[in-house]
Assembly symmetry: C2
Homo-oligomer: 429 residues x 2
């Protein structure tokens, strides 16, 4: 390292974790544009939720450091190069994915204030404001907390101990690459931004997957890494759309229609591989049974909770019932994947449908077993829209452990969407 | 890296493997000084011997590259800093270990010419000349061939594949550190220069051992690394002294006395922890049985062939017979060590004698199992004094697989030194 760089590094007041507004998932930007067009004035509250109560984040992570990192994110704005990339790049085969109106708004954007408190060893971190603005806090907030936790654990480790820790973690990633390499027709992307061990580590994992898997590696959900490494930016949409649309519904009838309204808006904006159904927000079975026919024509489905094989079988049956050929459809698995599950699901569904994997936590944060007390093991941290225009949001999903919202509202949603008994699945990551 | 450094690196005609005349084992310098004083005009031939015939070095390593590296070594001379360190540093608790006469000679030294031919897939590399000069070729010649072989294997590997290879090798070293750390009273040094995977890798291993083992890590035999990392330089003497002294003997009586003449010369020059007997050149049992009494007073013994536990038991019995207390003696194990053997030998002898380990190949070159066809596994390459003043040298050792010399001379030496049947032990490294 040259002398000036070293001196410069020592002058940093902080070592920023998130250094760019596009260090976020691609689908957040797609959804942001859709919201900016369709529901720009909706008042939404996002809130951090640590599902792994045993990890007492407020004891591990210093509040001052957390505030510094969040304040740094509030100082960020889109750089000219980032703007040029978003405006000019081809995403999913399409030029000008982002409209000039949206880009002008995004170029002027600074993230809105946050609200931070400590309670019972956990941070209560919330973001309130216009939906298109506050929704952009989700990924950087998660990335900051994940990386500050990593830093807290690494803080007392010595130089060679650290080097060997990363050597071991690299070896784990590469063993996965070697297990995945023989799979014919594999298609897998990095979805690990929100739960990554650190930014540099995600960047390493993405590059290693690229070298090791070649064309089977489809790209990354992280826009900054996609831009820097010249990869495809991957992603479509998420639960926050039906959750907020549902919360805004005035009647049970409007509520029942809300998830389809989301996809109707999406249908007008996107085509091809961006038309991916996320069916599980209020139960996959009921969602598909009551879905309008035009939805069966969409390109594919993303299975993000419940038993993934069962979910894919449900989708295949549904396509057949609606007269669609499943072999022309895409099934994206993105929930709690590990190598064994990827191999198993690929074997079961390859040839019957087009299969794709969005691999998150256990790609970019698999430090299990590498430190005493497993202090770097990943944990289940999320940041969700919890209220819209003053009303609480609800998520049921295909796993009751992932359900969210006030109990009375959960009951109402279950009734409206006809959700019966569900199998509980441990939420690890 | 700064721009100028990068440009500079690309201007290199070669990437030198040995960049310093003190990138060698400390005992070579101690022996060199002794030879410089006692036998400076002896004409000696050193020769490279690859005991692992299955590794066809001349097919793997380009002759032009090998010549470039050897020519580079011939261009080296002692730098002022290196000279200052050798003149001023404390070695084994003693200042001015190297005399002004020796240092003046060393400062003016360039290594003499080499002779290189290819034969049947192997390199025939020999060095002929005055003993104090040609003996300094041994370690750099070995290091160059070891590292050129590593480079040949690594040449077609890609960036992340390489990174993971070193990650795995680091993990292996660290697992050894973790296994050795709990051993109370452990004392271990790096003896791995001659068989190292590469210079940078030896440097890494030495630093990792230092951090991981703390005070249990005694230092390194490599002078350059000892100087750069502020560690103890470790080593005493080797087989080349008795081998050449023996070859110079005119009669069987002189031959029988030669190994003791070596130690008699050494006795006048060194004291304390440098008075270490290397008894196995012509069989440990006979050597100790016929040894003069003053030798039992020496500080310790180095066990470098045969069954190490048997060798140590022989030494302990011998000390007792000669009225010495073994608990005040030092036993250094330095032959073919791995972690299990270190743990076993330490358990067996700790408390009965002072135990120390000189760990070579499996510290600085354990890439076993890390590449297809095990192409980076260490192999048994040596560079030995094969002739002195026109007469062949002979080595018997306590393992007939390590024996060297013409058959008729081996028979004569066995008769003179009373060596009977010996147990064969596989020579791996």
């Amino acid at each position: 390292m040259d002398i000036a760089t070293r001196v410069h590094n020592h002058k940093w007041k902080i070592d920023p974790i998130v250094r760019s507004l596009i260090d976020t998932d691609f689908y957040k930007l797609l959804m942001c544009q859709s919201i900016f067009r369709n529901k720009p004035d909706t008042q939404v509250t996002f809130s951090l939720i640590n599902r792994t109560k045993s990890i007492r984040l407020a004891d591990l992570v210093d509040e001052g450091e957390l505030r510094e990192q969040l304040d740094h994110i509030r100082s960020l704005s889109l750089s000219r190069g980032e703007s040029t990339w978003l405006r000019g790049n081809t995403f999913y085969g399409k030029r000008q994915m982002f409209t000039p109106e949206f880009m002008e708004w995004f170029e002027a954007l600074r993230l809105p204030p946050y609200h931070l408190e400590k309670h019972d060893g956990q941070y209560e971190l919330t973001f309130e404001g216009n939906w298109p603005e506050v929704m952009l806090w989700e990924i950087p907030a998660l990335a900051v907390l994940m990386e500050l936790r990593s830093r807290a654990v690494l803080h007392n480790m010595r130089r060679f101990e650290l080097q060997v820790l990363y050597a071991r973690a690299m070896t784990k990633v590469w063993e996965k690459v070697e297990q995945l390499r023989p799979i014919k027709g594999l298609r897998i992307a990095d979805f690990g931004t929100r739960r990554r061990h650190s930014f540099l580590w995600q960047d390493w994992c993405v590059q290693a997957m690229g070298e090791g898997l070649g064309g089977a590696f489809a790209g990354t959900s992280n826009c900054l890494i996609a831009k820097n490494r010249d990869l495809e930016a991957i992603g479509t949409n998420a639960h926050e759309l039906p959750m907020v649309y549902a919360a805004l519904a005035e009647t049970d009838e409007e509520l029942a229609r809300a998830p389809y309204d989301v996809l109707s808006d999406w249908h007008e904006e996107h085509e091809g591989n961006l038309r991916i159904i996320l069916p599980d927000t209020y139960g996959t079975e009921g969602f598909l049974k009551n879905a309008p026919d035009w939805l069966a024509n969409w390109t594919g489905i993303r299975i993000d909770s419940g038993d993934p094989a069962a979910g894919a079988e449900t989708a295949i049956s549904w396509w057949k019932e609606r007269g669609e050929d499943p072999r022309e459809k895409l099934v994206i698995f993105s929930d709690g994947l590990n190598v064994d599950k990827i191999i198993e699901l690929h074997a079961q569904f390859s040839g019957r449908v087009n299969v794709s994997f969005g691999w998150g936590t256990l790609l970019t944060n698999d430090f299990r077993g590498l430190t005493p007390d497993d202090a770097l093991a990943p944990f289940s941290l999320v940041c969700k829209a919890v209220a819209a225009n003053g009303r609480p949001t609800v998520k049921l999903s295909d796993n009751p452990r992932k359900a969210m919202g006030p109990a009375s509202e959960i009951e109402r949603y279950k009734r409206v969407f006809g959700v019966g008994a569900q199998e509980e699945v441990e939420v690890e990551v």
